[in-house]
């Protein structure tokens, strides 16, 4: 095999590259040769979203809102500014709104038209969020979708589905689980799942501590 496999560590060297792989390589090599993209900038972008930006960011925001009522108030009044206190700003999160779950109201976020998602606090969206089953059914049958995620919603609860059709990005503030009194923000953040912040899951219950 010829050289130039610097980025193909996960390809089997005996299998030919697919058309898609060839096309991506073709575009990258052409654009690099024309000086339109810088390969090291590509590497930085990949590293940023693969290892640095992710749902642990949003979990910290949620944990602070649970622990600090003044922060929660700021978060609900001006989510962009409150989230910016952590430095979780920028692309696909410039204009944020936080939706509070209560015992009476469950919020769920979708982008039926494509995949819009609050990158600075949740990272890149999971495949299921961007795929036809969720995009088609979240607005049509949210309770059925929630059931598939293991969440049963009572008839007395209102489900609100938010379709991210504009550039406002939504983050769900899940309900704080019972039995978490006295936990610090780091411990609370451990309980906050990505799915809870999209609105298809609950925050985890605390593990039983050995007294």
């Amino acid at each position: 095999m010829s050289g130039g496999h610097e980025h193909d560590h996960d390809d089997r060297h005996t299998a030919p590259l697919s058309d898609t792989q060839l096309r991506v390589k073709a575009l990258e090599s052409l654009l690099t040769e024309k000086g339109l993209v810088d390969a090291r900038a590509l590497d930085e972008l990949i590293d940023l979203y693969e290892t640095k930006v992710g749902p642990r960011n949003g979990a910290r925001v949620v944990a602070r809102a649970w622990a600090d009522p003044a922060y929660k108030k700021r978060l609900l009044e001006n989510a962009s500014a409150a989230i910016a206190e952590f430095g979780f700003t920028g692309r696909q999160g410039e204009d944020m709104v936080v939706l509070e779950n209560t015992p009476r109201v469950r919020n769920m976020v979708v982008c039926t038209l494509c995949s819009c998602y609050p990158w600075p606090v949740l990272g890149l969206p999971p495949v299921w969020y961007k795929s036809p089953p969720y995009r088609s059914r979240a607005v049509l049958d949210p309770r059925g979708v929630l059931k598939e995620f293991g969440v049963d919603v009572g008839d007395d609860v209102e489900v609100r589905v938010w379709d991210s059709t504009a550039e406002v990005r939504y983050l769900v503030l899940p309900e704080r689980p019972p039995g978490t009194e006295g936990m610090n923000e780091d411990e609370l953040a451990e309980l906050v799942t990505r799915d809870a912040m999209i609105g298809v899951g609950q925050a985890r219950a605390p593990e039983r501590r050995v007294p």
């Binding site: 996960d10 792989q21 060839l22 990258e28 900038a41 890149l124 795929s131 088609s136």
Partner: protein
């Protein structure tokens, strides 16, 4: 446009299937397609609304049968060619050359 991307309320796509411990990218080509799209967008030749519109123009059967980053790849190539930054001929020639190199 009334494309298949406008999916709210459609039937027939089946259950939501979530992969446990899903990686951010499933293949090296996805990483590169993602980064190329962002870096090419930074050139300022198109805006985000144009990039969404580009993906919407993917032939519907192909859109439904392909994966998310394949939509990005299609849209990126469409925009680059539309703006004259690349030609289809250049892309095809490079694909052929790379395929030949792989076959050796």
């Amino acid at each position: 446009m009334n494309g298949v991307h406008d999916m709210g309320g459609m039937h027939g796509f089946g259950p939501v299937v979530a992969e446990a411990h899903e990686p951010v990218f499933h293949a090296e080509w996805e990483r590169r397609a993602f980064a190329l799209t962002l870096a090419a967008g930074f050139l300022g030749e198109w805006n985000i609304d144009m990039s969404r519109f580009a993906r919407e123009q993917m032939p519907p059967a192909a859109y439904l049968a392909s994966s998310y980053y394949e939509h990005w790849l299609w849209g990126l190539e469409h925009l680059l060619v539309e703006r004259g930054l690349l030609t289809r001929g250049e892309v095809e020639a490079r694909v052929t050359a790379l395929a030949a190199r792989e076959a050796r």
